[in-house]
Amino acid sequence: MLKKRIIPCLDIKDGRTVKGINFVDIKDAGDPIELAKKYVEEGADELVFLDITATLENRKTLVDLVRAVAQEINIPFTVGGGINSVKDVQKIIKAGADKVSVNSSAVKRPALITEIANQFGKQCVVAAIDTKFENGEWKVFTHGGKTATPLNTVAWAKEVEALGAGEILLTSMNNDGMKTGFAIDITQEVSEAVNIPVIASGGAGEMEHFKAVFEKTSATGGLAASIFHYGEIPIPQLKEYLKTQKIAVR
């Protein structure tokens, strides 16, 4: 049976992990490679690296980081943040990433999704969608949630699928950081509307939240950052719990 995926997300700035804390058995939680290796040992199913570096100059360090990560870990990983062109994707994939995620750049120029899919295959393109419930509707936001767009979330999800995305990473901004659980309603609406896998993101605070999103929606993965970084929910414990709840995990 296909397993539900547990996916830690690492925010990267200038080649360093943001928001990490020191685990007892790793020297430097700010070192993305150390942290990534720790997650692989713990049984993470995939990793997402989100580059939040502001300057173009420091972006070069991202490619070096991807190369180093690829040499050290043997599970799939996605790299996102500031990818605007096929040329950007080429560098990241050549360095050893399995997938790239695109967000604001795809809203600005939807053809980017098709261009990446044509060159590297659909499985390589993750459409990251940040969504917020406002005035009775789930709408798409860009630029880290700062910029509103007129796009309806379900309609945009269908469009990215048609454009060639292989997967959707859906983050509810209403839930992100609240630790009150994933946004079940929009996650289910989106995952029913498309036939590509959907990863739920934003709001995980307890192990029960993962159970809820896997039982109540067709999402095939759950992504979280701080609860894993701060050791609030160790991945082995989460997986043991989900197994007792009859949810298929690795």
């Binding site: 049976m1 296909l2 397993k3 539900k4 995926r5 692989v40 199913d45 690829a70 040499q71 043997n74 599970i75 799939p76 994939i93 050549k94 360095a95 050893g96 399995d98 590297f120 295959g121 659909k122 499985q123 390589c124 292989g166 997967e167 036939n195 590509i196 896998p197 067709s218 095939t220 993965g221 690795r250």
Partner: protein, 192 residues
């Protein structure tokens, strides 16, 4: 020396990284003589079938690959290209395995993406690997079960998770991305 076939497909570096971590020297190459002289050959790949086959033909690799006598491992698209034909781009493939590659019907999420276990596995490639163990898959096309099938995975319908004929082995999943279990399988292959 292990030869990793160089062609217009992604994910080749990951295979080399895995081999390096296991302590094996490898070279990514499309040179006929190097490939034919290698101890073992790995044929990786993520990509599209018809353009990959076209590339192999342009480089004359289609004839080299089928002539190889040493242990040979195809991965993902590599497996599909070793079959008779693929529905992806209506492609005539290498014809090593007596089966056809079909597209998944849209009755569940496609691509089949993530970790899945086998419902059946046999042979030395799976030494010390069990039915509970999961491998990482990402594919929208699958090889039908046939007499060369040595492992079956069930997603939408049962398909060939691995195939074997003479010196030719292939896996639909990515051992190089399947953590410890994947490394175990690669070691089993490298010891053949």
């Amino acid at each position: 020396m292990i030869a990793i076939i160089k062609y217009n497909a992604g994910n080749i570096q990951s295979v080399q990284n895995a081999l390096t971590n296991l302590g094996y020297e490898s070279v990514i190459t499309d040179d006929h003589a190097t490939i034919l002289a290698a101890e073992k050959v790995i044929f990786p790949g993520v990509g599209e079938a018809s353009s990959a086959m076209q590339y192999l033909k342009e480089k004359g690799l289609n004839e080299v690959l089928t002539a190889i006598k040493q242990p040979f491992l195809g991965i993902c698209l590599g497996l599909q290209l070793m079959c008779k034909s693929s529905e992806e781009g209506s492609t005539e493939c290498l014809g090593i395995f007596d089966t056809e590659v079909k597209q998944f019907p849209p009755t569940d999420k496609v691509p089949h993406m993530g970790w899945n276990n086998s419902t059946q596995l046999e042979g030395s490639l799976f030494l010390n690997i069990n039915l509970e163990d999961s491998f990482y898959y990402v594919h929208s096309y699958f090889a039908e079960v046939c007499e060369n099938t040595i492992s079956v995975c069930d997603y939408i319908e049962p398909f060939s998770a691995a195939l074997h004929k003479n010196n030719f082995y292939a896996t639909q999943f990515h051992p190089e991305k399947s953590a410890d279990i994947g490394m175990k399988l690669l070691k089993n292959f490298l010891k053949l």
